[in-house]
């Protein structure tokens, strides 16, 4: 095992897959030798693989994705970076109407093995156009997979799987996670999609969380344990496919669930999770379902404002206490 930062784990995945498979290549704005990616994920890769396979693009988000689609359906495995998750809105047609549907519309003739990497999340005071978490939009698009790694280990293993798979994967990263360190094996590994990870076992209440919120949930769980409340923290690792079995098993065990998600509450990730539990495990619930999410506002700039809207351990603790 070795210790590595989330961003470096992502880079290792890219590097290993690019070495293994000549059809893998990267495209995006400022991902090449002059910048190395806005968050440095691709730093050094242009030097190793050349400018042909690590391509700096114009500021044309829609075409970054469109070009990836065209390359993917003709034999390549592009990994496209959209510099900020908010900007995926510019490419929504290419993502949702083209990449995701191209296989289906054409009756299974085509496949589009491509990955769209993008950072979501707030916490660094860059306001409404650079701080959103929009996973829910993409969960709502059949044909896409949606990965949401919360640790370096998950990030590397899931990204390798994403690149090797034959479906378009919307791969979410998180600005605050990039510097986060964690242990990963020295040897090569991949992680399956649709397999949740119990980040902490517990018996009184299930906390379902993704991305940066997993860490808030773990902190909350630790603090609650001192008050003898035993929290189970479930991290789905991919939202599509979703490990429903793990989610429901945990809920059936604890009888309570708090769903934590760093996106606007209405029609967000937490809504779908709550709905699944309400459909399939309601008889096991001993308390109402709780959602901890952002209020329905854009993300404000000023630190006290931003801090107010992004869920934190205190809000999780409060929610847990309301139902145990």
């Amino acid at each position: 095992m070795k210790e590595i930062a989330y961003r470096d784990a992502l880079r290792e995945a890219l590097r290993e897959e690019m070495r293994r498979d000549q059809t893998v290549f990267l495209l995006g704005e400022d991902i090449g030798r002059f910048w190395g990616g806005a968050f440095k994920v691709t730093n050094g890769l242009a030097e190793e693989f050349g400018d042909e396979r690590v391509r700096d693009t114009p500021i044309s988000e829609s075409t970054i994705i469109g070009a990836a689609v065209g390359a993917a359906i003709t034999g390549m495995r592009p990994v496209a970076e959209i510099m900020f998750g908010d900007l995926t809105a510019l490419a929504m047609d290419q993502i949702a109407n083209q990449a995701a549907k191209i296989r289906y519309m054409f009756g299974g003739q085509a496949k589009a093995p491509m990955v769209i990497r993008t950072p979501f999340g707030g916490g660094v005071n860059i306001a409404s156009h650079h701080s959103q978490s929009l996973e829910a939009w993409f969960m709502h698009v059949p044909g896409l997979y949606v990965a949401v790694p919360s640790t370096p280990y998950d990030a590397k293993g899931l990204l390798k799987t994403a690149i090797r798979g034959d479906n378009p994967v919307f791969f979410c990263e998180h600005k605050l996670l990039y510097p986060l360190k964690g242990m990963i094996p020295e040897e090569e590994y991949t992680l399956p999609f649709g397999k949740a990870d119990v980040k902490r076992e517990g018996k009184d209440v299930t906390v379902f969380a993704t991305m940066f919120m997993v860490h808030q949930a773990l902190t909350a769980a630790e603090r609650l344990s001192r008050e003898n409340i035993s929290v189970e923290v479930i991290d789905p690792r991919t939202l599509v496919p979703l490990d429903k079995a793990a989610l429901l098993a945990s809920v059936k065990k604890t009888g309570r669930i708090v769903i934590v998600s760093e996106d606007c509450k209405t029609a967000g990730v937490s809504a779908e999770i709550a709905a699944i539990v309400a459909e399939e495990a309601i008889d096991y619930l001993d308390a109402p379902i709780k959602r901890v999410a952002e209020p329905d506002t854009p993300i404000p700039f000023s630190p006290p404002l931003e801090k107010f809207v992004i869920p934190d351990e205190n809000r999780i603790i409060k929610a847990v206490k309301e139902i145990v």
Binding site: S60, T63, G70, M105, A110
Partner: protein
Amino acid sequence: MTHDKEKLVEMYTKMLEIRFFEEKVYELYGQNLVPGTIHLYAGEEAVAVGVCSALSREDYIVSTHRGHGHCIAKGADLKKTMAEILGKKTGYCKGKGGSMHIADFNIGMLGATAVVGAGVPIASGAGLSIKLRGTDQVCACFFGDGASNQGTFHEGINLAATWALPVLFVCENNLYAMGTRQSQVMLIENVAERASAYGIPGVTVDGNDVLAVYEVAEEAVKRARVGKGPTLIECKTYRHKGHSRVDPATYRPKEEVAEWLKKDPIIRFREQLFKMHVLTEEEAKEIESKVTVAINAAVKFALESPYPEPEEALEDVYA
């Protein structure tokens, strides 16, 4: 210009196939046998055939909502095309795509997208793929005059230009986008003028003259294959029918329609072939009946084919 008789006859035959095919689709639609909507290619045959004749089987095309002609020109099977348009299980896309989403990946027909302009970046991506794989393929991307006002046109062509990708951007300028005249939505007369914004060649050609289109396309293909990058080719043409099957197209002046009908690309090409002594009246008749037979067989096949089972709707979402 090619003087290869076989090739010229093949081009003529393809054009006829498209025309007869579209006439059948028109007819079947009137009989309520075609679900949804259709956008006929009749009148624009010289574009698809001119361009695709400059391509090889390994080359790619990216198509649009008005895609039947592109398919046939690239060599698609008439039966599977017709079956798809009728929503049958035996169609190219097993009935999932229909008229607006036909594709045949075996012949490099990378599919029709019904989002106007969305094919442009996809074509650039196919060009990029060619470049990275180091083959000498090219990709031809069809789109309309209306599509040239989409952001994707700008972005996609700029990308291909900058990276010198082997792509032909073929604007089928039929003067209208639905009921909207070109002059209502842009100040310039020739869409090809936009090429200069990307530093690539732009050519405007008579889109009802299949040999003229062929020549321009051949030149562009040559450039593309040797790494000189994309060309924007604008083909001035006209659709004989309304935008879609239900459109009476009353927004078009009668005289304009009449004038363009006189420029029918098929009649023109036939006259030319006669003059060139490539074709005799008799041979022309023969081709016509051969094509009629083929189209009728396609219709029969499509009509007799079963619909997909409802549950098949759940398949093909993921690989």
